[in-house]
Every structure is written in structure tokens, then in C-alpha cells.
Symmetry: C2
Subunit: 225 residues, 2 copies
């Protein structure tokens, strides 16, 4: 009943930093993806598989956002991708000002694709532009089919939903056609990909989508430089 809003200065400062990040990404022709989900949907596992599949074809780096711990960054490092960990020390989302200093740790001129794994949270990260080109949400079938309607903002602002844990679908009550229908009703432009990060299935269409975006970004960067 009482509406709590972020104070304007926080979002204003964020927008400024996001704009600066975006200019930097554009200059180097790097496609940047903001990867979001609730805790435990399988963001890191999806990212591990994506790195495996793209090895040798794209130069990819990762920024890992977590409130505490470096567990996810260690998992990503093992897959051979350059990774920087940002610990938010309590904050429930990444903001653009946290991204900026992390970029200094990469050789941006050599990157094609930067994936930013946000803090596990279906609500707050949606409000903070990091300067990315696109947003993908990982949603697992074990979370139930009603999540899009209950947390619409994050899905409205995304380009992709990766429907994960498809291997568990037979054991859940998730109504997959209903889930997909509701996602499309919130955002008709959404690309939906059904995957199982654990079983390593369904990744091809997602990888094709990513490669296409990287190619488009490179072309626009070449034209503007």
C-alpha cells in the first residue's frame, strides 16, 4: 500500500555511469549481456556451458556480481574465461558505477562479448541499467509457471528468457505452454530458449542468437569508428 521508491539521485548517477559504460563498449565493439535471475535458477551453470560452447569462436569475458563470496567467479575461471568478481557487500543488485572500475581489468580491445552475471534477484536488478546491449533472464521450470506475472518488470525489459532445468520438467507441476504464453503476453518480442544446463541440451539456438548479436555489434562499431 505504501510505495517505496529509490531516491532520484541514485538512479540519475546510475544512468550517467551506464552511458559512459555504453560509450566504452561501443568504441570497442563489444556486445554486452546482463544475465539475471532469481537465486538458484542456474545462471552460473548456463554461463559455464555457454563459455564451453563458444571457446575458440568468440573472445568472451565475464563480470560476476555477488553479494558475498567468489564461488561463482572461481567456477567461471576454471572454464578459461577472464573474470572479474564484484562483491556488492549487501546490495541486492549491480549498478553501472560498480561496472566501470571492473572494466579496467580487461583488455577491452580484444573482447567480442562481455557477460555480466547479476546478483540473484528477480526484482531490483531490473531497475539498474549497466550500459548493456541486452538482458537475458534465466528462469527454471522448478520455479513454477506463475513467475512472469508476479515479477513482470524484469521480463518486460529483457530480450531473452532461457527456460532452464528442462530435464526436471516431468517431475514438476510447471505448465510450460502457459509459462511461455504469459512471457509473450508481458513482452511479445522475447526470444525463448528451452535449455538444460545440467544435461547440456538446447544450447544451439541460444548460441546462434548470441553470435548474431556480436556480429551486428561489431558491424555498427566498425561503421562509427
Amino acid at each position: 500500500m505504501v510505495k517505496v521508491r529509490l531516491a532520484a539521485p541514485v538512479l540519475q548517477q546510475n544512468e550517467e555511469a551506464a552511458r559512459e559504460n555504453r560509450i566504452s563498449f561501443q568504441k570497442h565493439g563489444i556486445f554486452v549481456l546482463n544475465l539475471m535471475s532469481s537465486p538458484g535458477s542456474g545462471k552460473t551453470s548456463t554461463l559455464e556451458r555457454t563459455i564451453e560452447h563458444l571457446a575458440g569462436s568468440l573472445n568472451l569475458a565475464v563480470i560476476e556480481g555477488d553479494i558475498y563470496t567468489t564461488r561463482d567467479a572461481e567456477r567461471i575461471e576454471k572454464r578459461g574465461a577472464p573474470v572479474v568478481q564484484i562483491n556488492t557487500a549487501g546490495s541486492c543488485h549491480l549498478d553501472a558505477r560498480m561496472i566501470k572500475p571492473a572494466l579496467e581489468d580487461f583488455d577491452l580491445g580484444k573482447l567480442d562479448l562481455l557477460i555480466i552475471e547479476n546478483v540473484g534477484n528477480l526484482v531490483c536488478p531490473a531497475e539498474f541499467d549497466l550500459g548493456e546491449d541486452a538482458r537475458a533472464v534465466v528462469l527454471s521450470v522448478t520455479e513454477g509457471s506463475d513467475k512472469p506475472m508476479k515479477y513482470p518488470l524484469i521480463f518486460r525489459q529483457a530480450q531473452v528468457v532461457l527456460i532452464n532445468k528442462m530435464d526436471l520438467l516431468p517431475y514438476t507441476d510447471c505448465d510450460l505452454p502457459l509459462l511461455e504464453k504469459e512471457l509473450k503476453s508481458i513482452n511479445p518480442e522475447l526470444e525463448l530458449f528451452q535449455i538444460s544446463a545440467r544435461e547440456n541440451t538446447g544450447f544451439s539456438p541460444w548460441l546462434e542468437w548470441l553470435k548474431k548479436q556480436v556480429k551486428i555489434k561489431k558491424q555498427t562499431a566498425d561503421q562509427t569508428s
Copy 2:
């Protein structure tokens, strides 16, 4: 790297409202539980089963917190419990000021137990005292064993963790002994209950715990009144 904190006035105002709620609960001898989890862990299903089991033995009411929709409140109403829906209209957690007006819709003198289902989020709800007596977190085995270490605050402040979706354990990579060990390392006082809301199993110890708390609360209320 940059730390974002809530402005002090928000938390101060919340504490004041929480104190007023607590006085009101104490006056009526109502045990109040703040039920939290990430989206899709099974808070509402757990609550539905809990209501079913307690029907006839305790007078229970529910406050449903959601960002949007009244879907969960409709589910609870079907189980026969008085329910008030609070839509936070974008905010990622309930705060004590939202609870206060909702209490006017209940006959507090007749209640033994009030369960407040918070917004699905493992981060932000942990910072807001609603005036409750205890906090329970629902954590599903499909979320993976690393969640407590990544989101410690909510577990540090809880009295109970309901480990849900135990029926799916054989199909996941969740290391249950590790999960329980890490929960206890964060908070040695935690009561852990393994349940499956879908299969309706494992509820007895949890229901006994709840009944015991209700009894203790009634006794202390009787003494102070």
C-alpha cells in the same frame, strides 16, 4: 565495490512501525511469522499445506505480500484462512508500515497465529523488521547447496529453514548434508525441517514447532495482560 545503503530515515520509520505492530501482536497474544524465500521456492504451497494441517486446532490468518497480482491470496483464501493482500507496486519487500493498515481487516482478538508471506526475494526482505516473532525461510533443493553462503543475512536472522521440494532431491545435484552444514555454520540455532509441499510430507515437526511457539506466545501475553 560501491556500497549502496538504504537511507536511514526509511529504516528508522520502519523500526517505529515494527515496534507498534509488535505491541499490538503482544496485546492479543498472536504469534507472528515472517515467511520468506526466493521466487519459486514454494512459500505459498508450504503455507497452503500448513493451513490444511492446522485447520481446527489454531486460528490462523495470512497477509500476502506481492509486487503485483492477487494470485497467492486467492490460493490461500480457497484453503479457508482469512487473508489480506498487500501489493507493493514495485517494491521488493514488505515493510512494517504496510502491515499496520492490513491488521485492521482482521479480528485480532480471535487469532492465534498470523503468517506474513513476504515478497519472493532472498535479499531485501531480510532488512525489514515487520514486528514478527520469528522468521522462516523456504529453500528448495533445486536452488543448489550454495545459497546460504551467497545470501547469508536472511539465514542469520531466521529461526527456521524449511528445505522444500525434497521429492525432487534425487533428480538434482543438491548436496543436502553440505547444505545443512552450511546453514548451521551461518546460524547454529536454526531449526531445519525437510518437507515436500507437493507430496505433503515432512510437515509434522514443523507443525509441532509452530504450535509450541503459539503456546509460548499465549502464555507470555496472558502474563503481561
